[in-house]
C-alpha cells in the first residue's frame, strides 16, 4: 500500500528509489507474538500537591505497550510480557519521570514531582529517536496541549507567540485567518523566506502562503491554519544548526515538530466544546476631519478654502466579526488498539465587513500493537476551508479596503445612489475605487481541500534496538477566485481571475537506534537514518478583463493572463549519530548527515552537515551535591556545534538557464531568462555554536534555561546583478555571509503549589543581533513588495531603512525652506557612505548631523537627496510574561508579549500626507483656522500649508520611520470547572478568553506588528494596506464525558 501511494504521488520518481524501499521494508517484517504473563494494573497519578495529573504518559519500558492517564489522572493497563518483572515509566511534560516496577497485578498510585527543567522529558526532535533532554547538548523548546488550548488561537503558529524563547512570532495580517511569520533566532537567508521546517506526526508539511489571486498586503493564510490546534498533544522546537544538523539541507531555519493526540487505553473519552468568538478593530487610522478643503491644493501660497463635509469610511468598512467554534473528540483503546478521532468546525468573521473564514477538520489516529516487538501507527486528517476575502490593496493593487482609505480625501458620501451605482471618491482618482463598493461588491474567495496521512511502523526486535519507518504524505488543492463586476468605480471593464494550485509533499524516513551498555558506567546510543523527500506543485492561473454582464467566470471576458507552472524537487539524505553517556551525567554526541537534492548543482550533491554536542548534569555529581546542592538543586551545562542548510532558498529549476516560451505572430519562440543558471549552486550553510545552562533553585521551584548562540550563514544565496554585456541581468549565486548572535532566557517559577491554590510565572527574554557581513558589494535594496525601502548593507542588520532624512541645522532643529516648510537633506552620498558604511573616511568630512550634507550660499541644502540609515526593523529584544493562577475550580492566565527596539515604515501615513490624496489627519490640521504648531523634541514650528505634503510627496522618509516597540496583552483567560456528580459528565469547563485586547505603543497607525510582505526576510516592519490584528474575545465551554 505504501508503495502504491508512493508511485501514485510521484510523477517521475526513479525506479531505483522504489527498489530501495522494498529492501528496507523487507527489513522490518514483524516478529511473532510471544506473551506469557499478563499484569492488570491501575492507579491514580497526582502532583506533589495531591491534584490529579491528567494525560500522563505511561509505557512499559522496552516495549511499545502503554497508555495514558485520564483527565482525572486515573489509568488502567493490561501488560503482556515474557518477563517476570517490568518497569512502568510515567512521564509528563513538566514533571520528573517516575519508574515503577511491576511484578503482579494491582493498584500502583504514583506521585510526580514537578520538574521545571525537564531533564527526564523525552524528546525526539533533532535526536535519532526518543531521548531524554538530559542527554542533549542543545536547547529544545516544548509546548504542551494545555498551553495551546489556553491561547485560544485559530492557528497553531499564532498560539506559539510568547511561549518559546528565541522565536519571533508575528501575525502579519489581521484577516480572519491571517498569515503568521515565525523566525527562530533571527533570519538566516535573504533569497527565500526563513520559516522553519514543520513536521506533523512524521509528515513534512507545507506551510506556504500562496496568493493565487492577489488580495493585498500582509500575505494570505499560511497553510498551518489547516491544522486544528486542539488536535495537538505536544510541540517540540529546535532553533538552529547546532540542534538540527541531522535534518540536513532543510533545517537552517530551525525545526518545529508537532505531535497530535493519540488514543489511550480505556473506555471511550468524549470531549465536546463550543465557543463564540467576537472580533473587533482595536484602533483606527486618523483621517482628515477639517471642515474645509483647499481650492488649489498644489499652490502653497493660495490659502483659499471651501467648506466640505467629512466622512470616516472606516465606520462602515470595519465591522464586529462574530464566529463560533465546535469541537468533538473521542478517544480510547483496548491496549492493543488505541484510537483518537476528532471533528471540528470553525467559523470566523473578519473585522473587515463581509470577510470570513470557515474551516472544518476531521482527524483519526490509530495505533495497533502487532506484537510485543512491533506496532503500527496510522494517522489521517482532512481539512476543508473556505474564505471570503476582501482585497486590502498593496503595491500594484490600489483599490483595496485599506489602501483606498489612504488615497481619497474623505469628503465624498460613498454610499450608492438609488440605482446601486457607487460614486467615485474625491482624492486620488477613480483608479482607487469606492471603498464601500470594494467591501460590498468585490468577490474574492479561496477554498482549500487538504489531506495528510502518516503510516509508521515501530519495531523493537531485541533489547536495545529500535527502528521505525515512516511514510508521510501531505496533499492539498487551493482554489482562489477574484471577481470585480463590470462597471465598478476602479475597474470599469471588470476583472475576473482564477488560480488553482495542487501541492504534494511526500517523505519516507527510516530511523534505527541501538542502545547498549559498554561498561556498567558507559552507555552507547547509535542512531542512523535515511530520508527521501519529494515535493511537487502545479499551478494554473487565468485572468480575464472586458467582462460582459453578470457572468463571473473566465469565459465571461477576454483572457488577459494565463500561466501554467510545474515545480518538482527531491532531497535525499542519510545520517549517523553516536552518543556516549558516562554515569548518566555526561553525554557526548557526534553526528553527520549527507544530503543531495535535485535543486543543487550537479557536483554539489553530497552536502555534509556535521554536529557535536555535550551535556553535563553537574548537580548529580557528588561534589555538587555536597557544596552547592542545597541552593542550586539542578544544574546542567550544555554546548553544541553543528551545520545545516537551506534547500528552500534555491528554486527547483534555478540552477538552469531557462529558455521561456513567448508567443509571437502565431508562432512560439524561446527567450533565455534574464537570470542565468548556476550549475555550481549549493545550499546556504549555517554553522552554529550554542552554549547554555539549565539550572533550578529553591528545590526546583525556580528554574532557568539560558542559551547563548552564534550563527554564521555562509554561501548566502544572493541575486547577483550582472553586467548587461553578459546578455543577462542576474544570477543566483552563493556569495554572501550573515551572522546572528543572541541570548535566550526562559524562567519558570512555581510560587505556590497547594491542594487548591497554584501560582506560576513564566518569563522569556530573547535578544538577537543580526549583521550582513558580506553581500558581494556594499549594499542593495531588497525589492520584496515594499517599494524596495529596506536594504542589505554590509556591517548593518538585514533590512535597515536607508532612506532620506530631514535637512537639519547643527543643533538638530529642522532646516526649513525659505517658504517655511521642511525639506529633504542634500549633499554627497559618497561622503556619507564612506564615513558610515565603509569606514574609509574620517575627520573633517565625517562630522555634522549628516556627514556629507552640503549647504549653498544661502544656507539651504544643495546636491542630490541623501539616504542615511534611519532605522532597523529587527527587534532588539522580545520577551513575554505569563501569570497562571489556579484556585479551587477557577483558573486564570495572562500573557504579555513585548517586542522592543524596532522600527516600522508607516507608508499608510505617508499617503495620508500627500496633497494628491488629501485624506490625512495631519493634512487636515493645516486647513484649520488656527493650525496647531508642529512640535518635535520640544521645538515647535509654524504649521503652514504644504507641511504634511512636503514630507509625503517630497518623500522625507524620516517622518514615517517610527518606533514600533509594543507590549501587548496577548492572551487573557478565566476558566471555571464544574465537576458534577452525575455519572455521564466528568467535567464541564467554562472559559472566557481574550486575545490582543491591549497594546502599549507609540505607533501612529493600526498596529506596529503587521507587515506588508508577510513572512519575507529582509522586508519586515513595513506597514501599507495591511488589515490590523483584531481584538478578539472568546467565550465557551468544554464538556468531558
Amino acid at each position: 500500500m505504501v508503495l502504491t501511494a508512493l508511485s501514485a504521488t510521484s510523477r517521475r520518481l526513479n525506479a531505483p528509489i522504489k527498489s530501495c524501499l522494498i529492501v528496507l521494508l523487507l527489513l522490518f517484517t514483524a516478529t511473532p507474538m510471544m506473551a506469557q504473563r499478563v499484569f492488570d494494573v491501575e492507579g491514580t497519578v497526582t502532583d506533589r500537591g495531591g491534584n490529579p495529573l491528567p494525560l500522563v504518559n505511561i509505557r512499559v519500558s522496552g516495549t511499545s505497550q502503554g497508555t495514558a492517564a485520564t483527565i482525572d489522572g486515573e489509568y488502567t493497563l493490561r501488560i503482556e510480557t515474557d518477563q517476570d518483572q517490568v518497569t512502568l515509566v510515567f512521564s509528563s511534560l513538566g514533571y520528573t519521570t517516575q519508574n515503577v516496577s511491576v511484578s503482579s497485578s494491582g493498584t500502583y498510585d504514583v506521585e510526580m514531582p514537578e520538574d521545571l527543567l525537564g531533564f527526564d522529558e523525552v524528546v525526539v526532535t533533532g535526536t535519532s529517536g526518543s531521548t531524554e533532554k538530559r542527554q542533549l547538548g542543545n536547547a529544545i523548546s516544548t509546548v504542551s496541549a494545555n498551553q495551546l488550548r489556553d491561547a485560544s488561537a485559530i492557528d497553531v503558529t499564532a498560539a506559539l507567540s510568547g511561549k518559546v524563547s528565541g522565536a519571533l512570532v508575528k501575525q502579519t495580517s489581521g484577516s480572519p485567518a491571517g498569515a503568521i511569520s515565525i523566525k527562530l533566532r533571527g533570519v538566516s537567508t535573504i533569497n527565500s523566506d526563513a520559516e522553519p521546517l514543520y513536521i506533523i506526526d512524521g509528515v513534512i508539511v507545507d506551510n506556504s502562503s500562496n496568493e493565487l489571486v492577489v488580495v493585498g498586503s500582509g500575505g494570505v493564510q499560511n497553510r498551518l491554519v489547516d491544522l486544528n490546534p486542539r488536535d495537538i498533544e505536544r510541540i517540540e522546537i529546535i532553533k538552529g544548526a547546532a540542534a538540527a544538523a541531522i535534518y540536513g539541507s532543510r533545517a537552517s531555519n530551525g525545526v518545529v515538530q508537532i505531535f497530535t493526540k493519540r488514543g489511550q487505553t480505556g473506555a471511550p473519552q468524549v470531549t465536546f466544546s463550543s465557543s463564540v468568538v467576537m472580533n473587533s478593530v482595536r484602533e483606527k487610522l486618523k483621517v482628515n476631519e477639517a471642515p474645509f478643503a483647499w481650492v488649489d491644493p498644489t499652490n502653497n501660497t493660495n490659502l483659499e478654502r471651501r467648506a466640505v463635509d467629512r466622512y470616516d469610511y472606516q465606520d462602515y468598512i470595519f465591522d464586529t466579526g462574530v464566529g463560533n467554534e465546535s469541537y468533538l473528540s473521542v478517544s480510547g483503546g483496548t491496549g492493543t488498539t488505541n484510537y483518537f478521532v476528532s471533528a471540528s468546525n470553525y467559523y470566523n468573521e473578519g473585522i473587515i465587513r463581509n470577510s470570513d473564514f470557515n474551516r472544518s477538520t476531521v482527524r483519526a489516529n490509530l495505533n495497533q500493537v502487532l506484537s510485543n516487538k512491533a506496532s503500527i501507527d496510522v494517522g489521517t486528517s482532512l481539512t476543508r476551508s473556505f474564505s471570503n476575502d476582501i482585497p486590502t490593496g498593496g503595491p500594484g493593487f490600489f483599490d483595496g479596503s485599506i489602501t483606498t482609505l489612504q488615497f481619497v480625501a474623505h469628503e465624498t458620501d460613498a454610499t450608492p445612489d438609488a440605482l446601486g451605482n457607487y460614486p467615485a471618491l474625491a482624492g486620488g482618482g477613480a483608479a482607487f475605487g469606492n471603498v464601500f463598493e470594494i467591501v460590498d461588491v468585490y468577490k474574492f474567495t479561496q477554498e482549500i481541500n487538504r489531506s495528510t496521512t502518516n503510516v509508521k511502523l515501530n519495531l523493537t526486535p531485541w533489547t536495545g534496538f529500535s527502528a521505525d519507518a515512516i511514510v508521510g504524505y501531505d496533499n492539498y488543492t487551493q482554489l482562489a477566485r477574484g471577481f470585480k463586476p463590470v462597471g465598478t468605480v476602479a475597474d470599469a471593464d471588470g476583472f475576473t481571475r482564477r488560480g488553482d494550485l495542487t501541492s504534494k509533499l511526500l517523505n519516507f524516513d527510516v530511523n534505527a537506534k541501538y542502545n547498549r551498555a559498554l561498561t556498567p558506567s558507559v552507555t552507547s546510543t547509535t542512531g542512523a537514518g535515511f530520508t527521501f523527500q519529494y515535493d511537487e506543485s502545479e499551478q494554473i492561473i487565468n485572468e480575464a478583463s472586458n467582462l460582459g454582464p453578470i457572468v463571473e467566470t473566465i469565459d465571461g471576458g477576454t483572457l488577459t493572463v494565463r500561466s501554467d507552472l510545474v515545480s518538482e524537487r527531491s532531497v535525499t539524505g542519510v545520517y549517523l549519530q553516536e552518543t556516549i553517556g558516562l554515569n548518566n551525567r555526561i553525554f557526548l554526541t557526534a553526528s553527520g548527515r549527507i544530503d543531495g537534492s535535485s535543486a543543487f548543482g550537479e557536483d554539489e550533491n553530497s552536502q555534509f552537515y556535521p554536529k557535536v554536542g555535550a551535556s553535563w548534569i553537574l548537580s548529580e555529581e557528588n561534589f555538587w551535591k555536597q557544596s552547592l546542592g542545597g541552593t542550586v538543586s539542578s544544574f546542567k551545562l550544555r554546548a553544541s556545534w553543528g551545520q545545516s542548510g537551506n534547500v528552500t532558498g534555491i528554486g527547483p529549476f534555478e540552477r538552469f538557464t531557462n529558455y521561456n516560451p513567448v508567443s509571437f505572430l502565431g508562432e512560439t519562440g524561446l527567450i533565455p531568462s534574464t537570470q542565468l543558471g548556476d550549475e555550481s549552486i549549493e545550499p546556504e550553510t549555517q554553522t552554529e555554536l550554542e552554549i547554555g545552562a539549565d539550572f533550578a533553585l529553591l528545590n526546583n521551584r525556580l528554574a532557568f534555561e539560558a542559551t547563548w548562540y552564534d550563527q554564521k550563514i555562509e554561501d548566502l544565496l544572493l541575486q547577483r546583478v550582472l553586467a548587461p554585456s553578459t546578455g543577462a541581468n542576474t544570477r543566483i549565486e552563493n556569495l554572501g555571509e550573515l551572522t546572528n548572535t543572541g541570548f535566550e532566557l526562559l524562567t519558570r517559577a512555581t510560587v505556590i503549589q497547594k491542594r487548591d491554590l497554584g501560582l506560576n510565572f513564566v518569563a522569556t527574554l530573547s535578544t538577537n543581533s543580526n549583521e550582513v557581513v558580506d553581500i558581494a558589494g556594499p549594499k542593495f535594496a531588497i525589492a520584496n513588495g515594499n517599494f524596495a525601502r529596506q536594504w542589505a548593507i554590509e556591517g548593518q542588520p538585514l533590512g535597515v531603512f536607508y532612506e532620506t532624512p530631514y535637512a537639519r541645522n547643527e543643533d538638530g532643529t529642522l532646516l526649513l525652506t525659505p517658504g517655511g516648510l521642511p525639506q529633504v537633506e542634500r549633499g554627497s552620498q559618497a561622503v556619507y557612505d564612506g564615513c558610515i558604511l565603509e569606514g574609509t573616511l574620517s575627520g573633517g568630512d565625517c562630522t555634522g548631523v549628516v556627514p556629507g550634507a552640503r549647504r549653498d550660499a544661502d544656507g539651504q541644502p544643495t546636491g542630490n537627496p541623501m539616504s542615511v540609515i534611519l532605522g532597523d526593523a529587527t527587534p532588539e529584544w522580545i520577551g513575554s510574561f505569563i501569570t497562571q493562577v489556579e484556585y479551587h475550580d477557577w483558573g486564570f492566565r495572562m500573557q504579555w508579549d513585548a517586542v522592543q527596539g524596532f522600527d516600522v515604515y508607516n507608508w499608510n501615513r505617508r499617503n495620508f500626507d500627500r496633497h494628491n490624496y488629501r485624506g490625512g489627519y495631519d493634512y487636515g490640521l493645516e486647513l484649520l483656522d488656527d493650525p496647531p504648531d508642529v512640535c518635535e523634541d520640544g521645538v515647535c514650528y509654524e504649521r503652514k500649508k504644504g507641511w504634511a505634503n512636503a514630507a509625503g510627496s517630497g518623500l522625507i522618509d524620516e517622518e514615517y520611520i517610527e518606533d514600533g516597540s509594543f507590549i501587548k496583552l496577548r492572551e487573557i483567560l478565566v476558566s471555571y470547572t464544574i465537576r458534577p456528580s452525575t455519572k455521564w459528565v466528568r467535567a464541564v469547563e467554562i472559559r472566557v478568553a481574550g486575545r490582543n485586547l491591549l497594546s502599549i505603543d507609540d505607533y501612529e497607525g493600526f498596529d506596529p506588528e503587521v507587515s506588508i510582505a508577510g513572512r519575507a526576510t529582509g522586508v519586515s516592519g513595513f506597514d501599507f494596506g495591511t488589515v490590523p490584528i483584531p481584538r478578539t474575545v472568546i467565550a465557551g465551554f468544554t464538556i468531558d464525558f
Binding site: R12, N14, P16, I17, C20, V23, L24, L27, P461, W462, F465, A467, V510, Y514, A528, F530, L565, V566, S567, E568, R569, S570, T572, G573, V574, I594, D595, G596, S597, S598, N605, S606, P652, F653, F656, T657, N658, Y659, P661, V662, S663, F664, L665, G666, E667, T668, G669, L670, I671, P672, V721, L722, A723, P724, S725, T726, G727, A728, N729, G777
Partner: protein, 445 residues
C-alpha cells in the same frame, strides 16, 4: 548476537546505497540551453524569440532614445527617464532606463544570434535552411552592434559570461558588423531562404532577407564613410528587393511606438516641424511627408514646453508594421556618399529621387520639385540632412545623423531653439560599470 550483527550490517548497507541522490528533474516550464541549441526546432524557436526581443524590447527604445536626444519627440506625460533624456546635457544619469535597455537588449539579441550562428552548422542538415538561419543570425548580430554604435563611443562586440567584456572603439565594432553582414550574404549565396522559413521566423512574407542585409550594409558603410561600398550596397538593396521588408505586430504584441505615442494617455508625441528649429528650416506644407507623419495639434510638451503634433506614420495602429528600412534611405545613403566623394551631379540625382518620389511602397512621398539649390557639397549635404530628418522620421537614425552631419549640440545652459541634439553619446550603464571592470570613462556629453 550473530543475527543482530548481520541485520545491523544489512541496515547500514541499505542506508548507504540509498544515500546517493538519484534525482534530476527536467523543467517542464521552460527549455534548457542544451535542448534549445541542439535541435532545429529549438533554434527556430530561438530565432523567433530573438526577433521578438528585438522588435518588442529593443527597437522602440532605439527610436525613442534617438527621438528624445535628437529632437523628434516631446514628452507629454511626466515620467523621469524620458524627461531626463529629453533634457539631455552633461548630467544625464548613467542609470536612465532607456539607454540601459538599449544596451541590455542589444547584448541579449547578440547572445541569441551568436547561439544560432554557432549551432546551426551542427544541427541543421538542409543547406538552404541552414544558410537562412546563419544569415538571420548574422543580420541580428550586425543590427545589435549597429544600434550600440549609434549611442556609445565603445562597447564589447561579444557577450562574455564572465562579465568582463572587452570594449572596442565604435568604428572597429561597426567593421565587425559589416563583416557579419557580408558573411550573411555569402551564406545565403544565390539562393533564397525557403518560404517556410520566412513565414515561421519572420511571421510574414514581407521580408526579403537578402535586401535587408544589403540595406544594412549600405547604412553601416555610409556611417563609416566607405562611400563606394555604401553606394554599391544601396544600389543592390534597391534593385534586388523582391518585396518590402517589415517588422510585423499584432494585438498581443502591439507596435510599441503606437503604444507610447498613440495609445492614450500617450507618453510622447512628435514635435512640430519634425523637430527642426523653425528659424532654420520650415518643412513646407506641400511636402507630402508632413501629412504622412503628423496630424496637427495645439498640444505642448510637459517640461520642454515645445509644441507637439499627433502621431501618424507607422505608429497609427497597434498592428501597424514598421519598415525594416525605407527605399528613401537607400537613395539618401547614395546621395551622401556621392556628395562626400565629390560626385555632386550624382548626389543631386539621388536627392531628387527622394524629393520627387510619388510611388513609395510605404507611402512616404515628398512629391516636391527637384533640388534647385547651390551645387556645392555643403549645400547638398544640408539638403540631404533635411531630407533624412523628414524621410527617415523616427526610424532611430536621427542621433547618429545629427552627429555625422555636424549639427549644433545643446549649449549650456540649454536653449531649446538653438540646437539639434542634446547629447553626443550616452554614459555607460551603471550596472555595466558596477560589474565590468573594463568599462571606460563616460563621455563629457
Amino acid at each position: 548476537m550473530r543475527r543482530k550483527t548481520i541485520l545491523a550490517v544489512a541496515f547500514g548497507l541499505s542506508i548507504s546505497v540509498l544515500g546517493t541522490s538519484c534525482d534530476s528533474f527536467e523543467n517542464p516550464n521552460a527549455a534548457s540551453e542544451d535542448q534549445v541549441v541542439n535541435t532545429l526546432d529549438g533554434l527556430q524557436a530561438l530565432a523567433i524569440g530573438m526577433k521578438r526581443e528585438y522588435q518588442i524590447n529593443s527597437l522602440d527604445e532605439v527610436i525613442r532614445a534617438s527621438g528624445l536626444s535628437a529632437r523628434e519627440l516631446g514628452v507629454v506625460l511626466g515620467f523621469t527617464n524620458p524627461q531626463d533624456l529629453e533634457a539631455g546635457g552633461a548630467n544625464l544619469r548613467p542609470d536612465n532606463g532607456i539607454p540601459v535597455t538599449i544596451w541590455a537588449t542589444s547584448f541579449r539579441v547578440l547572445g541569441m544570434a551568436d547561439a544560432i550562428i554557432e549551432n546551426a552548422p551542427n544541427v541543421i542538415s538542409d543547406a538552404p535552411t541552414r544558410n537562412a538561419f546563419l544569415a538571420t543570425g548574422y543580420l541580428f548580430r550586425a543590427i545589435a552592434i549597429g544600434n550600440l554604435y549609434m549611442f556609445w563611443e565603445s562597447f564589447p562586440t561579444e557577450v562574455s559570461s564572465d562579465g568582463e567584456g572587452q570594449f572596442v572603439p565604435r568604428a572597429t565594432a561597426l567593421q565587425a558588423a559589416i563583416a557579419d553582414l557580408e558573411a550573411g550574404l555569402s551564406a545565403l549565396g544565390g539562393a533564397d531562404p525557403p518560404a517556410g522559413f520566412r513565414t515561421a521566423v519572420f511571421g510574414t512574407n514581407n521580408f526579403d532577407l537578402r535586401a535587408v542585409l544589403e540595406a544594412h550594409l549600405a547604412r553601416y558603410n555610409g556611417f563609416l564613410g566607405n562611400h563606394a561600398a555604401a553606394i554599391a550596397a544601396a544600389n543592390r538593396a534597391l534593385s534586388g528587393a523582391t518585396t518590402i521588408s517589415q517588422w510585423s505586430y499584432e494585438a498581443t504584441n502591439p507596435n510599441q511606438m503606437w503604444l507610447q505615442t498613440n495609445q492614450e494617455p500617450a507618453t510622447y508625441r512628435p514635435l512640430d516641424n519634425f523637430g527642426f528649429d523653425s528659424t532654420a528650416y520650415v518643412v513646407p506644407d506641400e511636402d507630402g511627408r508632413k501629412a504622412f507623419f503628423l496630424v496637427p495639434s495645439d498640444a505642448i510638451g510637459e517640461s520642454s514646453r515645445l509644441p507637439v503634433e499627433t502621431m501618424a506614420g507607422f505608429f497609427s495602429d497597434q498592428a501597424d508594421p514598421i519598415p525594416v528600412y525605407l527605399p528613401g534611405e537607400m537613395y539618401l545613403i547614395r546621395a551622401e556618399a556621392e556628395a562626400r566623394s565629390g560626385n555632386l551631379a550624382g548626389a543631386t540625382v539621388s536627392i531628387n529621387m527622394v524629393r520627387e518620389k510619388t510611388d513609395d511602397p510605404w507611402g512616404v512621398n515628398a512629391g516636391l520639385g527637384p533640388y534647385d539649390g547651390p551645387q556645392t557639397a555643403e549645400a547638398l549635404l544640408a539638403e540631404i540632412y533635411r531630407n533624412r530628418k523628414v524621410e527617415l522620421f523616427l526610424t532611430g537614425l536621427s542621433l547618429e545623423d545629427s552627429r555625422r552631419f555636424g549639427q549644433p549640440i545643446q549649449p549650456s545652459p540649454p536653449d531649446f531653439d538653438s540646437y539639434d541634439r542634446n547629447r553626443n553619446f550616452y554614459p555607460f550603464p551603471q550596472t555595466e560599470r558596477d560589474n565590468n571592470p573594463n568599462t571606460p570613462a563616460d563621455p563629457a556629453i
